[in-house]
Amino acid sequence: MTGPPLESSVAAFEQLYADTYLKVLAYARRRTESTAEADDVVSATFLVAWRRLDKVLGADHPLAWLYAVAYRVNLNRRRSAARASRLRKRVHGLAAPVQDITQITVEADETLSQALQALATLSPADQEILRLAAFEQLTHEEIAQVLGIRPSLVRGRLFRARQRLQVSFEQMEGR
């Protein structure tokens, strides 16, 4: 046997799972349209973590490592969904019904609802960096690890994304 004994790997993974499951689930819920889709993202993320246990345990910020995997898993999922939606449109002339979990949760709060709508108008890159900062409340260093960019770039990108968010928010207020 060349790797670590399976028992110790399971114990290490179980500890990681206990420490991070809720955070990864919340991350997925914030970015998917149903609990089933969120569960898919969580499953795929932890499966990759299990297969790359040495990587995640050796990461400076294991949770940020998991977010990074979840981010890319979700991107792939969304691309597949977009392809399916385009196909549905061609075949049936219909778009897939979209039910945004965040819309359901906050429909009673108009201000927050409009802030979320403003967020949804931004580019995916802007949305992700804002979500990581606002919802996951990551440090710049952790955000850099998730997005695969240099930490020195995070401050500027976050600043510009916040500006664009505010512009969109104020345009909604004027409607």
Partner: protein, 243 residues
């Protein structure tokens, strides 16, 4: 500034998902997920479980521990697999009549139900990750490891891709590609091509081809698609959503 305040501050103070209302890692669903993941110790085991369900191979365990035996047949016509208890040709082993299946999964029952036990690696009755190597006699020797390099370490060859069931090969390849693209941020088409070539080479799958889509300035990153029937991997340019 909006009279209602800063949009980012509003988002920061109103997380739309209340973590206190989510089921944590102790919930039945989370425990089920955990158990299903750790039941797949590495690429080999992931496919091994699936194959265990789909193949009714005729396993005849030799009851006597230490009675390793080798049948001299070419690898293209396998009739036997030798399952070793440790990563050593001198370790105890058991011979399995494998029918038409030349695959490490042939050793699963020998670990689950005995006689193979190695509690330095896994508890009794648990199947460790398994790696198959090809002996000089052309038979499959299976060792408890998750490292394909054990074959070279023991002076054995790795099975070529034609010696393993096609579904097994494709599944393992898909796992490797998924892991690579899920753990790397925005690899270029060229970087992805190098990585995929390495992944194919590691698996003895050099006959597969890699097709790449046209480079586009607004799509600097690569994603992948597989066409197993034509043994082709497609690398397609996608936009950098993190950039």
């Amino acid at each position: 500034m909006s009279r209602r305040g800063d949009a980012f501050d509003i988002l920061s103070s109103h997380d739309p998902v209340d973590e206190t209302r989510l089921d944590d890692h102790r919930s039945p669903r989370a425990r089920q997920l955990f158990e299903s993941i750790v039941a797949t110790p590495g690429h080999v085991a992931t496919r091994r479980r699936r194959r265990l369900r789909t193949f009714a191979y005729a396993a005849i365990a030799v009851a006597t521990m230490g009675a390793a035996w080798i049948v001299f047949h070419p690898i293209s016509n396998p009739t036997a697999v030798t399952c070793y208890q440790a990563v050593s040709l001198d370790s105890d082993a058991v011979g399995i009549a494998s029918g038409s299946t030349l695959d490490p999964s042939a050793c699963v029952s020998a670990w689950e139900d005995g006689p193979l036990v190695n509690e330095e690696i896994v508890p009794r009755g648990t199947v460790p990750p398994l790696v198959g190597c090809v002996t000089d006699a052309g038979t499959l020797a299976v060792f408890p490891s998750d490292d394909p390099a054990v074959c070279e370490q023991l002076g054995l060859a790795r099975p070529d891709s034609e010696s393993i069931a096609p579904g097994e090969v494709v599944g393992d390849l898909q796992d490797a590609l998924t892991d690579y693209f899920a753990t790397h941020q925005c690899v270029s088409i060229d970087q992805a091509r190098d990585a995929v070539e390495n992944i194919l080479t590691d698996r003895g799958m050099s006959q597969w081809t890699i097709e790449t889509g046209p480079a586009q300035p607004d799509r600097p990153c690569a994603s992948f698609g597989m066409d197993p029937e034509n043994t082709t991997i497609y690398l397609v340019p996608i936009e950098d959503l993190g950039g």
